[in-house]
Amino acid sequence: MLFNSLEYLAFLLLVAAVSWTLPPRFRWVWLLAASWFFYASYGPPYLVLFVANTLVAYLAGLGLGRAQSPRARRLIAVGGVGVLFSTLFVFKYLDFCLRSLKAVLAVAGIRTHLPLARLALPVGISFYTFQAVAYVVDVYKRRFDVERHPGIFALYKAFFVQLVAGPIERPHRLLPQLRAPRAFALDRIVTGASLVLWGLAKKLVLADRLALYVNEVYGHPSHYHGLPIILATYLFAFQIYCDFSGYSDIALGSARLLGYELMQNFDRPYLSCSVREFWTRWHISLSSWFRDYLYIPLGGNRVSRVRAQLNLMIVFLVSGLWHGAAWTFVAWGALHGTYLLVAIWTQGLRARIASALRLDRVPRFHTWLQRVVVFHLVTFAWLFFRARGFDDAWLLLKRAGDVRWSWSAALPRGITGYEFGVGLIGIAALKAMHLWQNCANTADFLHSRARPVRWALHYVTVASILLFGQFDLTEFIYFRF
């Protein structure tokens, strides 16, 4: 059941309507049943694995609550996290490791036959595994009390609005809300509906439209050169943003319709002035997870300078690998890690250049210059993220240099100037909105505007979905992670 389907909208309305009519203390039963049903709609076998994952995290939490000695606690925590990560490894990375090992052995002249497991990747396994690990670690570190209610804990793991692609909710944010549901508030419902609408517009009008262009070019890299490849890479930057942030908006909006508040996952990342800032605005729930559960445990920046930089690189390599079991994702992560290291190394030099160019006298221009540079760095890295493999990435890079400046050459097969123009206007409208809004959440920003402005924007959003929406029911990109 995709967030951009009519089934989901009907399901959400039904769940919300019934949920609000139930007494608060029974609400979790209904929401848990709905969440498991939602997840089972992707395939009942996945649900079995998911429930097992929930059980492991729950039992580990209970064990940590009872164990007194530090050694026993550490044993339970390591055991719990180990089981959770090993499940993720088997389903997501086993074949990748076997293929890589085979390739390495082949280079060394050793021919082996390593049978692949060929397991189907359960939907959202990376997300819910990280959520479970966050809970076990938080309980182990005594940052959060054990959740003893199995139903509430199961709902924390299964809450359908954030189950398959996040945000990766931390226990201290979501569990208290599930224990004590909030009272009905019309403002929350209105902003929730507004967020769902805004997210749908991002997905249907922009992401899925841009996908037509991007898929054609990246699907047939040998057919294109120059402008289409460059444009497709820029468009992919917006496609993936609209796709994932659209999903997150729908998730946040759906949660608000049910009376819950999820964490903001995006904050206009393409307005970042540095790659470091980009990572505080892009997929915030994941980057903060890596900060809290990997970077800081590795020592963070409270170690030697070299070690801190190594930690940074490790975090980005693992982050790349988290996105997918392929070396292109590792390269994408490595590229971002490199950006950050280079930024650290050249901090003084850049400051001197800025001073020499008197950029401090034109701070707005300086800010925009930084934004443009960061956007281009990030967009270049997306090429590795989107390419089907290193061969394709290399081919795209090679062919991108052969630019022929003609309008007709810019349009790949099957894409009209009209469709392309609508996409560009959509991107311009999105950027204008981002520059206008003064907070991360578009719906909250709109809610604070005068009624005529608010309504007009809602009407424009509805009209743009109706007129320009791609209703081909395409999956969200992050569903495959």
């Binding site: 909250d444 809602h458 509805v462």
Partner: protein, 408 residues
């Protein structure tokens, strides 16, 4: 650094606000409908909607691709509607037939036109480099024949069909272009070259997958969206397109009949171009069609595994459903010129006949195969092109059907 979400700031509410908001929303949708209707509710759709209204009295209906238009119910002495559409696949036939059976209380007979390609055709499965060229035609189908069901996998087209013409397959492009021109004329008081389009051309132009006929005759004529869809179908092979000896081989979307308004009984005027159609012209036409069908069937088979099995099962299900309502089913393979049958995939011809005969043995359906009937196969005068009958051909087909079914 984590951007914490903020709870929405309470805003002073007015009790009139929600009704007014939704009223505005309704007005918006109505406005879009009003703006889009002249361009999207075209002749074909209006004709379909009228046929749906007239189903109340229908005793027979015909479903099928453009070849099904050869079955003239009036000539057969049956009151009913011909619901054939260009390029209709079996899933669409079943959907339309089921829709008709729900709306026609007096329905006794359903004619199902089985073309050679019928069992290897699924408009949802045609995919050319990631673009599903033919799926859009289902939007109009769902709009004209709404039911509380859709062909599996057609969620999007069903939703669009229910909202049509607010939601269109060309994303309102024609609506914008035409309305912009209207607005321009309103302010400038100017006339466009060539005046208004004729309804027939209007219908063809507004329908994105309409055959590409002559170049736009006026500035008012919008570009053919078939171009947008990347269709490289050959140009029309009908009278209106010329078809002289020196013309390039006639070739349109093979599933599209020449643009003749549905239900018209007139003979085509015997133009000079028409009289110059000869054996070579028909042979070229047939070759073009066969080539295009082969490409379409290959693409559809590639994107719909077990297509031939699924189409057969769909037909079996339809026949059973109709017979459960005491509606008799007549399967008809219409007549073609021999050049057409000669070049069409022999395996598919065999499958069509085998499946139809198998169905007659397991159900009460009757099968009339006129595809190689000697009364037609070499009579070019009966045909507009190699596979579509002219009115005199339809009259003879009606006689043959009446004899076979003992209708007279």
């Amino acid at each position: 650094m984590q951007a914490e979400s903020t709870a929405p700031r309470p805003v002073r509410r007015a009790p009139w606000a929600p009704p007014c908001f939704f009223l505005g929303l309704g007005l918006l949708v109505w406005g879009l409908y009003w703006l889009g209707k002249p361009h999207y509710a075209d002749e074909d759709l209006r004709s379909d909607l009228q046929k749906v209204r007239d189903l109340e009295e229908a005793r027979a209906v015909v479903v099928g691709a453009s070849h099904g238009k050869g079955v003239d119910l009036e000539q057969l002495g049956l009151e009913g509607q011909n619901l054939s559409h260009n390029g209709q696949d079996l899933f669409e036939m079943a959907y339309i037939a089921r829709s008709a059976s729900e709306r026609a209380p007096k329905l006794e007979t359903v004619f199902i036109a089985l073309s050679y390609f019928t069992f290897a055709f699924d408009n949802a499965a045609d995919d050319r480099r990631g673009v599903r060229d033919r799926i859009g035609r289902r939007i109009e189908m769902y709009s004209a024949f709404p039911r509380a069901a859709f062909i599996p996998g057609d969620h999007a087209e069903y939703a669009k069909g229910l909202l049509y013409p607010v939601v269109t397959r060309d994303h309102f492009r024609h609506g914008f272009e035409r309305n912009a021109r209207r607005l321009w004329r309103f302010f400038t008081g100017g006339e466009t070259r060539g005046g208004r389009r004729t309804p027939a051309r209007s219908a063809a132009a507004a329908r994105p997958e309409a055959p590409r006929a002559a170049p736009p005759a006026s500035a008012e004529t919008p570009p053919d969206p078939a171009e947008d869809e990347g269709l490289d179908d050959p140009e029309p092979g009908d009278d209106s397109a010329g078809g002289t000896e020196t013309d390039p081989p006639p070739s349109n979307d093979p599933t599209d009949e020449p643009p003749v308004a549905a239900g018209t009984k007139r003979e085509r005027p015997s133009t000079k171009a028409h009289t110059q159609k000869n054996e070579a012209w028909y042979a070229r036409h047939a070759a073009g069609r066969c080539r295009q069908y082969a490409r379409l069937m290959d693409s559809m088979r590639a994107h719909h595994p077990n297509l031939e099995r699924d189409t057969y099962n769909e037909l079996v299900g339809l026949v059973h459903a109709l017979e459960a309502k005491h509606i008799s089913v007549v399967l008809v393979t219409p007549p073609y010129l021999s050049v057409y049958s000669a070049c069409f995939d022999a395996r598919m011809q065999r499958i069509t006949r085998t499946n139809a005969l198998r169905l007659t043995q397991t159900t009460g359906a009757r099968y009339v195969d006129l595809s190689t009937d000697a009364a037609f196969t070499n009579k070019q005068g009966f045909f507009v092109d190699s596979d579509h009958l002219r009115q005199n051909g339809k009259n003879v087909l009606a006689q043959k059907l009446a004899q076979a079914l003992h209708l007279r």
